[in-house]
């Protein structure tokens, strides 16, 4: 039994466990235990990975194991992790753990809720450990589809429409992706022999450039839709705004990273030639995403919309950095994935908690909340500061690295795009501080709000878990960035092999 498979098995067992328990209490105990084990596993994995790397293991992937699944099509269940996936797994474990606490008080169909939520997490974990494109795609879709039920049943606002839009756009993306993956598969054996879905094998094959030009955009856009690539981002604001707290957390925090990770690991890594040829198109699109998301956030009244647009902007930044295709920028992109994952999960958790108390998310209907709920307020503020890239928080490390990387391109086009993207930081500061100023500071607008309580223990646990991650990365960025950097080498080698 491969230890990585436990990451899929534990959630599945948790789901089964929940099926056989009744009531809210039992359900959440099982969920917490399951996700707690998952968190411990993730922690163990991080340390194990560092230890293995520390001992001089030079393999690209560790803990690789490989089972044949459909021998005639050479479809395999192949798992393995490198520094990047390890960090993303850790991120997922943290976010889902916090998410379970954030949905502690779920009272409508709690069993079904936790089952669906954890099913979604199963997809995410499976995605990050997969090295075979078939299983990867399977888990990818598995991670997307529970969103429909989660938003549709437990959401708020125009949830049916939002859920439908989100699901259809994401599945439309994954439909494009499917074609891209099949393309990779059928060009994987140029000299005859068995086709393969294995990423590591595919990396050894040079796909004809004509085919790359056809399949790269499909793959990139396919993953990009989940990464809220402009103009395919419109599911994001509605979806996030309507989703229940834990789902927003998981979705903005982790699922959007699935898209970015896929763009990196599949689209760019396996089709570098087309990637470098077509990068300019997507650089333009991602630059638009970044700026546009930031500006979009300025005008919003709803806290969730603010954060959703901000996610568009931040994840756009990740894609932007990936397209810069150099070590520094990609490193930054992955740092940003983790940083943003924690940050945005924190935001959504907090928004959920605030909403649970005030029953409004309109910032103009709130004010002076800092006085009534100082813990939540401070956390929100800290999250905001992290989001605008304050040193000491993870956002700073990530964004700085990205800009450094982006800046290494000397030509006018990249330079202009980079400057455009950098300017979004200023806008970020504007919308974060604006929101904080309006609903946290100032006078209390609604007398009812004076009666509100500050965070309960499980809420504190949930937010503090995330905050530790954010500050931890901000203060000690090196271990993470080293972990990632070590794993970027094969990527860089492959790129330079085809580009020069």
């Amino acid at each position: 039994m491969n230890i990585l498979s436990l990451f899929v098995l534990v959630p599945v067992l948790t789901v089964v466990g929940i099926m056989f328990t009744g009531g809210l209490k039992g359900t959440r105990i099982v969920a917490v235990v399951g996700m707690g084990i998952q968190l411990l596993l993730a922690a163990w994995l991080v340390f194990y990975y560092l230890a293995v790397k520390g001992s001089g293991d030079l393999n690209e992937m560790i803990l690789v194991s490989d089972y044949t699944w459909f021998p005639s099509l050479n479809i395999r269940y192949t798992v393995g992790v490198d520094g990047i996936s390890v960090s993303l797994i850790a991120l997922t474990a943290v976010v889902i753990f916090a998410g379970v606490f954030a949905s502690w008080g779920m009272d409508y169909l709690p069993r079904e809720f936790f089952i669906t939520l954890i099913l979604l997490a199963t997809g995410v974990f499976g995605f990050f450990i997969s090295l075979d494109l078939f299983t990867l795609f399977l888990f990818y879709e598995l991670a997307v589809i529970p969103m429909y039920l989660l938003i549709g049943i437990w959401g708020s606002g125009p949830k049916e429409m939002a859920a439908m839009k989100l699901t259809l756009m994401l599945m439309g993306g994954s439909a494009l992706l499917l074609v891209g993956l099949l393309g990779l598969y059928f060009y994987s054996a140029p000299d005859g022999g068995a086709f393969t879905f294995n990423i590591l094998e595919l990396a050894k094959v040079h796909m004809p450039s004509g085919a790359q030009r056809f399949f790269f955009p499909l793959t990139f856009v396919g993953f990009g839709v989940l990464g809220a690539l402009f103009p395919f981002h419109t599911w994001s604001p509605d979806g996030h705004a309507s989703a229940p707290t834990a789902v927003s957390m998981l979705h903005a925090g982790v699922l959007m990273k699935l898209g970015a990770y896929g763009c990196f690991r599949v689209a760019i890594f396996l089709m570098p030639e087309a990637a470098s040829e077509m990068a300019w198109i997507f650089i333009i699109l991602t630059s638009i995403s970044v700026v546009y998301g930031a500006f979009g956030a300025i005008m919003q009244k709803d806290l969730k919309y603010i954060n959703a647009y901000s996610s568009v902007s931040h994840v756009g930044l990740i894609l932007f950095a990936l397209l810069m295709m150099n070590k520094t920028a990609v490193n930054g992109a992955i740092l940003q994935m983790i940083s943003h994952g924690l940050m945005t999960a924190l935001f959504f958790a907090l928004i959920g908690m605030i909403y649970g108390r005030t029953h409004t998310r309109n910032i103009y209907e709130m004010g002076g909340l800092m006085k009534v709920m100082p813990f939540l307020g401070v956390m929100y503020l800290l999250g905001g500061l992290a989001s605008l890239g304050l040193p000491g928080f993870s956002g700073f490390v990530a964004e700085m690295t990205i800009f450094f990387g982006a800046f290494q391109h000397l030509d006018l086009f990249h330079r202009a795009a980079t400057i455009l993207v950098v300017s979004s930081i200023v806008v970020t500061a504007v919308y974060v501080l604006r929101a904080v100023g309006i609903f946290m500071l100032g006078q209390i607008k609604n007398k009812e709000h004076l009666k509100l309580q500050d965070a309960k223990w499980h809420e504190k646990l949930s937010t503090i878990t995330l905050m530790i991650g954010i500050i931890g990365i901000g203060v000690f960025p090196l271990w993470l960035s080293d972990t990632i950097l070590g794993s970027l080498q094969p990527f860089m080698d492959r790129l330079s092999a085809y580009l020069h």
């Binding site: 021998p71 005639s72 479809i75 078939f134 549709g152 049943i153 949830k159 598969y185």
Partner: protein
């Protein structure tokens, strides 16, 4: 070839005929007040037939090549048997209704007779056997479609089916006659070398395709589908959409791969066009349906379009993906129809809007329905995902990536309307949902079988590999 071997090769057909005749006789012998016994005894009898015919027999041919039996056809027949068995399990509730009490035996006998026709069709080695098998599989079905005595829709559906099916078999025959004229034989093996892309052959071929397209419901030969599905009793609809269609798809692929292998570029183009039309039109129509049977009719049209992608793959991969998909389709569609039947029998509701709030009252049924819909939409981890993925893989193996692109776009559209049903059951609120009920035991067993199938056929790669090995023997 000894007599026993002959019997073994013909095991499916002979057992079925015996069963059908047995049921008719048993039905005659039963006193009127004990007529309902026929339901259980027929089901059990058929179960026995199903199990008995599972004996694996090596390939062989009879009647000078008119009857071809091999492991793959045997397996396909087993799939059909399984499907019919599930349908029998689901039919109990419907047949028990008072107005059907006097003709229950005929129901079983007719389904088995038509199934025999399909089995002969699948195994046929010449166009004559093929055609008579096809007609045996379709003419009596019209009687079944009009089974419901008190619904004018049922009668209307029956007439529509029999007349249009007669027209289509006329066209099909015209095509066969052209092919006979061009090649001088009705035996598949003799025709194959004589086929070339002459206008006469193309004409004959397309007439032939239209006849098959009628059975499989390919656009533009599909128009009967929705009306007939809507009018027929649910179980008959299930039979039409799963068994009848499955058998036709199978033999269609075989004929394309063997008889018309010389004009592969012609039929790939024809199928290309048909696939695009079928998927798109099927989906567009499915969006607006409220009647669940009509909805499933259009959805099954769209699914037929996807199956064509599998055929495009040609060879053993194509064949495997088709059979595999059909197996999954049996579980998936029968689960959906089973739920529809259960709900209809308990409450008379057969509209999607009537399903609103179903989860609150009948959670299990809604879950099974959701599983089935997700499987139809091709959502992992249920089997439909694997089925559809492999169909696409099959088309991809011949480089039809644009077609796959069209197909996946259609799959996304189809997801929309499948989700509409899920939405009705799980999300929408309803003041008067279908009240809680307990469906008959056989129905529950059938749904259990279907759910298990939906869950495990995908993961259990052994099944796919087994089919692969079977079709590997042929191509």
């Amino acid at each position: 070839m000894t007599g026993f071997q002959t019997v073994l090769l013909l095991r499916h057909e002979l057992l079925l005929i015996l069963a059908a005749v047995g049921i008719i006789i048993f039905d005659l012998l039963l006193p009127p007040e004990k007529k309902t016994r026929i339901i259980h005894s027929s089901t059990i009898l058929f179960g026995a037939v199903f199990l008995l015919s599972l004996i694996p027999v090596e390939s062989g041919e009879l009647f000078g090549g008119s009857f071809q039996e091999n492991r793959l056809t045997g397996f396909m027949k087993d799939i059909l048997n399984l499907a019919v068995f599930i349908i029998f399990l689901q039919s109990g509730g419907y047949l028990r209704k008072k107005e059907n009490a006097h003709k229950m035996g005929e129901y079983f006998a007719l389904i088995i007779f038509t199934l025999t026709g399909m089995d002969f069709m699948i195994s046929s080695g010449d166009f004559l056997t093929f055609f008579i098998g096809l007609e045996t599989a379709s003419i009596p079905v019209a009687g079944l479609v009009a089974y419901d005595q008190f619904k004018s829709r049922s009668a209307e559906a029956g007439v529509k089916l029999i007349l249009l099916s007669a027209l289509s078999s006329g066209v099909l025959l015209f095509g066969i006659s052209m092919i006979y004229g061009a090649t001088g034989s009705i035996y598949f093996t003799d025709i194959a070398p004589g086929i070339s892309a002459s206008p006469l052959v193309i004409l004959g071929f397309i007439f032939f395709v239209s006849g098959m397209g009628f059975k499989i419901s390919l656009v533009p030969f599909h128009l009967w589908t929705a009306d007939v599905y809507e009018g027929a009793p649910v179980n008959v609809t299930a039979y039409l959409s799963v068994v009848s269609k499955g058998a036709a798809v199978f033999i269609f692929a075989i004929i394309l791969f063997t008889v018309f292998k010389n004009i592969i570029q012609v039929w790939e183009n024809v199928l290309y066009a048909l696939a695009v039309l079928t998927m798109t039109i099927g989906n567009l129509f499915a969006i607006r349906q409220d009647n669940i049977k009509r909805f499933l009719a259009f959805s099954s049209i769209a699914q037929a379009g996807f199956i064509l992608l599998g055929i495009m793959g040609t060879g053993s991969l194509g064949m495997t993906t088709i059979v595999y998909f059909l197996l999954i389709y049996v579980f998936t569609n029968l689960a959906a129809f089973g739920v529809a039947a259960a709900i209809y029998e308990a409450s008379g509701v057969e509209t999607i809007s009537g399903y609103k709030g179903l989860y609150a009252t009948n959670p299990r049924l809604s879950l099974v329905m959701m599983l089935a819909l997700f499987s139809l939409a091709g959502i992992p981890p249920v089997a439909g995902f694997f089925g559809k993925f492999f169909l696409f893989t099959s088309a991809g193996s011949q480089g039809y990536f644009i077609l796959i692109l069209i197909a996946v776009a259609n799959a996304t559209v189809s997801l929309y309307y499948y989700l509409l049903v899920v939405k009705a059951m799980f999300i929408d609120k309803n003041d008067q949902p279908v009240s809680h009920f307990k469906s008959p035991l056989t129905m529950r067993i059938s749904l259990l079988i279907c759910s298990l199938g939906i869950f495990f056929v995908g993961f259990a790669s052994g099944i796919f590999e087994y089919i692969m090995s079977l079709s590997g023997m042929l191509f």
